[in-house]
Every structure is written in structure tokens, then in C-alpha cells.
Symmetry: C2
Subunit: 322 residues, 2 copies
């Protein structure tokens, strides 16, 4: 893939325009305690306050709104049992586009219900017998609808990049930015936005140790994957970076680091008790990195993308019991 | 008590000046879902993001900072097992004033530890054998320190009023303001601030049904009390309004209403799942009123003071299980 940084950043700026009055310009929060523990000024970009409770709305809305009227008439399809499913569903409702979400039969009932509540049609499949790709392929052929995947899509990536762009404007400069990494859509978009605006700000992706495929891919230059990693950070259970996000991460990201399950849980607890924010485990990865004993070597103004706040009751109860 | 509204409001303005750069100018949050359910534009003044996690810091800091140098040298004393204890402790640390907090022996260990962590001396007493007033009286005589009670004190009330004042400025006008009511310090201060700025904005205090002493006092004109009400909203377990807050509530507040325990729990859940805010049960009283079936008759711009976010793990686990 040939990379044109200036062109990619232009797409983020255009996404920003499309999202005005649609996406929430989420608040940037600070915490004296966190500053002290992290030995720097920390700025939390709170995408848990985004519509549908996660940054995913930015990319989904940007991608669907770029379709032609004719494509919109034929509808949009995606596969996801997470925040992207709800983001596509809400986008469809706002733009009057029919949406279909392919979700495994064993996905939590709460995810299915939430996606349907936004007006999407949910198609279940048996993950032991079929792959989501084959189910989706059949549906695409039958309906002529357009696939908007969760991360491996330039318009999705451009939308996700608008969160970091807002943070840069509000903080007037950062020395480092910590970004959770699953499939790499948020990380790619954030890194493009940062590198177009700063020659000094380092962009660091954070993964769970148990789902360290992107870290290994980044270090070796070869695409690694992890299947169904048993991490509590469900937003990062994607098998690997994509054909688009992998080269973007290699080109724009400065470093990757991993955190343990215990560190993720401590970060969710810290955000709950000390900052009064409800953050899902994947959303707490950046704070987990700042709080751990072997802190990354960061100084000055450190931005952290809090990617989402969709945590179910049983998971939060377990975390508060730890 | 003679009431001089203009003078009382001046004290709030002065408190505002004292708190600049010290208290957090807490954010005002909105929620599309809440607007829809409440049938109005709702503005949440998030004092859960205040220092020590509750509005109490405003009043404590204002009161202690008004003491003379000589009084400061002799220290400050209070009785509280709640947010006021931590607010006094942090204030003492910031102003270099020794603080002593009288707390029953059976207060949760977490409250004692948090108060001591801010540098206060905690004096326990056996609530079956002694009253906190008698323990405090002995200490005051012995040390010459100054008592700063949790709500029945004009400087405390003036400090608490600064939250509503910030909300009024940020929202450019409200049609109603919902305020949790325990001892009435926050409610009095809020009402004074509103009435000095608006001839149309209604101020409504909200109490748990199980701790409805202020509502009954308001309706009858006679001071009622409730001892150790078993409400989950621990910040409202105060026995009654005080000699200062009762007349202020009567003079400035337009109405009082009560919510059930179930409604309080639903409000904490709603704030957790839908707005991603960690709010303690007392802090959710205003939202509980907006969400209940028998909604108060409110229209237009409705402000709600979210008074605090200090909820312990076991309580939140119980609420998320409901």
C-alpha cells in the first residue's frame, strides 16, 4: 500500500466537517491524582461520552455518509458483536439507511438487543459451522448492500482520527499520545492526525499482553495474529491488524506496549473510584500503561484516548470485587 | 433568623473568588436519552468531578479560608463520616491547617482511611455511649479549634452555592433546578444563587422517601426529623435541616419532592450505563425525579446538581445487580 500522509490527513479534516453537530465533541478530563502517579500532565479524551458510548460512531458515520445515494438505498452491512455494530446501527437510523449486522449466535444478548434497539437487523450465525465472512458474503450478494468493516477501511480510519484531532486542538500540543489497539483503526487514525500536526509528539499503541498480535507485528514487520484471546478487554479481541491498518501502524506509530490483565483491571478501578468515569476494559488500556510499575518513559503533556464506556454489569461487578 | 438575600448572594460571589484555581470548575454534561425521557433539555452539573468527589469541598474550603490566621493556627474540627470529612481534611492540607474529624467507631474503614490519607486526625467514638456533639465539645474546649459543621454554617452554605452559580452562567438560564437535599446546605446555597439571578427559575429539593424530613418540614413549617433512615442515599441520612438551613429553604426553595429507593437505584444505573458517570445514590436524586413515572411538571431547561460520586464497591455491585 502506498501511503500519502497529507491526503490521509485531509480525509480526517473532511470527516471532522461531516461529524459537526452529529458526533459529540467529547470532553477532555484531567485528574490531579493521575498527574501525580504518571509524573506528567495527563489529558483524557473521553470517548466513553461519545454517542453509542465509544469512538466507533465517528468512523461508522463518516464511512456511511460518504456512500452515494444509490449505495445508501441498498443498505449497509457489517460484522461485529461490539461497539461498531451499535455505531453502524445508529448511523443507519440517522441517515435513513437500512443496516444489517452479522453477529455470532453466542454474542451477549445485551449487545444484540442494543443493536436492534437502534434499528439494525441482526443476523445470527453459528460460529462453529460458518465464518462471519461467508455469511456476510452471501448477504452482500443477495442484497447489493455495502460492507463497512469495523476497522480495515480508510473512511472508518479517517473518522476515528477525529478524536485525536480534537484532543490536539484542545490541549495545544502533546508530547505523547497513548491509544488502545484492537484492529488498529483508532490507532492508525490517531497517528495520522498527530503526525500531521506535530513533529515531536510520540504515538504509542497499547494492547493487552494476552492479545499482543499488533505489538508483535509492529516489532517484526510481519503480520501476527491471536485467535480469541481471553483478555477482559473485549474490544481488542480482533485476530490481527488489517491489510490497511498494518502498514499505517508501521508508518505512523512510534511504539507499542502491552499491559497485563491485572493492570487493566486496576485501571478500570482507578477510573471508577478516582475519576468517576465508567470506562470499559479496552478503553482503560492507556491509563493502565500510565499506572503500572514499569511506566513508559513519557514526559510533559500525555494524551490518552479513553476509547469507550460500554461495560456490562457482571463485568463491572467482577472488577469492583477484585 | 433575618434573611438578606442580596447579602447572602454577595457571600456566594466572594466564595466563588476564593475557589478560583482551587476547586474544579466542574463540567456540565448533557444526554440525548435523558432529554428524551425527561421531555426537556437537561443539564447535569457534575460535582462528582469535584475535588474529593463531591460538592462538599466548596463549602469546606470557603469556610476554613475565612478564618483568621490565629484561628487557623488552633486548627479546625468537624464531625462527619461522609464527604464533608474528606473535604475538611483536604482543605486543611491545602491551607496548612490542622484538622480533626470526629467519626463513629462503626464508620466504614474506607471513609476513615480516605480522611486520614488527606492528613486529618480522626477521633473515633462509640455512638452507643457518647454523642458526637459531646465528643466534639470536649475537643473544642481542649484545643481551642474552630468547629466547621457539615451544613449549618453560612460560609459552608455560600461555598456550596457556587456550583449552581457556575451552572447558571454556563447554561445561560434555567427554568428549573433540581437539588439533592440532606442537611440543606447545598439546597440553600443553590437556591440563593438561583433567586439572585432569575425571577422565573424554580428551585426544587429532592429527598429519598425514607428520609423525607425536609419535605415535611417545608410543607408544615415545623422542623421534622428522621433518625438513621435506612436509605441507600447515605449523604441524606442527616436527621433534619439546621437552624440556619431550615429558614433558608423555606424562604428560597419553591418545592420539595421525594423519590423511592427503587427510583434512586434506577437513576444510578441510568447514569452508569447511559451517561458513563459514576454517581453516588445521593448524587442521583435529581435524575431519579426526572426518570420516575410521576415526573415533576418541568419544562424547558432543567438543571440537575449531581452532588457526588463517592460510592463504594459493594454498594455499586449491589446496584448493578438489581
Amino acid at each position: 500500500m502506498e501511503i500519502h500522509p497529507e491526503n490521509l490527513f485531509q480525509q480526517i479534516l473532511q470527516a471532522k466537517q461531516r461529524l459537526v453537530g452529529i458526533a459529540n465533541p467529547t470532553p477532555v478530563m484531567t485528574s490531579r491524582t493521575l498527574n501525580r502517579l504518571a509524573a506528567g500532565e495527563v489529558f483524557l479524551k473521553c470517548e466513553n461520552f461519545q454517542r453509542v458510548g465509544a469512538f466507533k460512531f465517528r468512523g461508522a458515520y463518516n464511512a456511511v455518509s460518504r456512500l452515494s445515494d444509490e449505495e445508501k438505498t441498498r443498505g449497509v452491512l457489517t460484522f461485529s458483536s461490539g461497539n461498531h455494530a451499535q455505531a453502524i446501527a445508529l448511523t443507519g437510523k440517522l441517515l435513513g439507511v437500512e443496516t444489517t449486522v452479522v453477529m455470532p449466535d453466542d454474542a451477549p444478548e445485551i449487545k444484540r438487543t442494543a443493536t436492534e434497539a437502534y434499528g439494525a437487523r441482526v443476523i445470527g450465525y453459528d460460529p462453529r459451522k460458518e465464518s462471519r465472512e461467508s455469511v456476510a458474503a452471501t448477504l452482500l450478494t443477495d442484497t447489493g448492500s455495502t460492507l463497512i468493516p469495523p476497522y480495515n477501511h480508510l473512511d472508518v480510519i479517517a473518522g476515528q482520527g477525529t478524536a485525536a484531532l480534537e484532543l490536539l486542538v484542545e490541549t495545544r500540543g502533546l508530547d505523547a499520545l497513548l491509544v488502545p489497539c484492537g484492529g488498529g483503526g483508532l490507532l492508525s487514525g490517531s497517528a495520522i492526525a498527530v503526525k500531521a500536526n506535530s513533529s515531536t509528539c510520540r504515538v504509542i499503541g497499547v494492547e493487552p499482553e494476552l492479545a499482543d498480535d499488533a505489538t508483535r507485528s509492529f516489532r517484526t514487520g510481519k503480520l501476527h495474529s491471536v485467535h480469541n484471546p481471553p483478555t477482559i478487554a473485549d474490544g481488542t479481541r480482533t485476530p490481527s491488524l488489517g491489510s490497511i491498518t498494518f502498514p499505517l501502524v508501521q508508518h505512523f506509530v512510534d511504539d507499542m506496549l502491552t499491559v497485563s490483565e491485572e493492570e487493566i483491571i486496576e485501571a478500570v478501578q482507578f477510573l471508577f473510584y478516582r475519576t468517576k468515569l465508567v470506562v470499559e476494559p479496552s478503553g482503560a488500556l492507556g491509563v493502565a500503561a500510565l499506572l503500572r510499575k514499569a511506566k513508559p518513559d513519557l514526559q510533559g503533556n500525555v494524551g490518552v484516548i479513553i476509547s469507550g464506556g460500554n461495560i456490562d454489569g457482571p463485568t463491572m461487578r467482577k472488577i469492583l470485587k477484585s
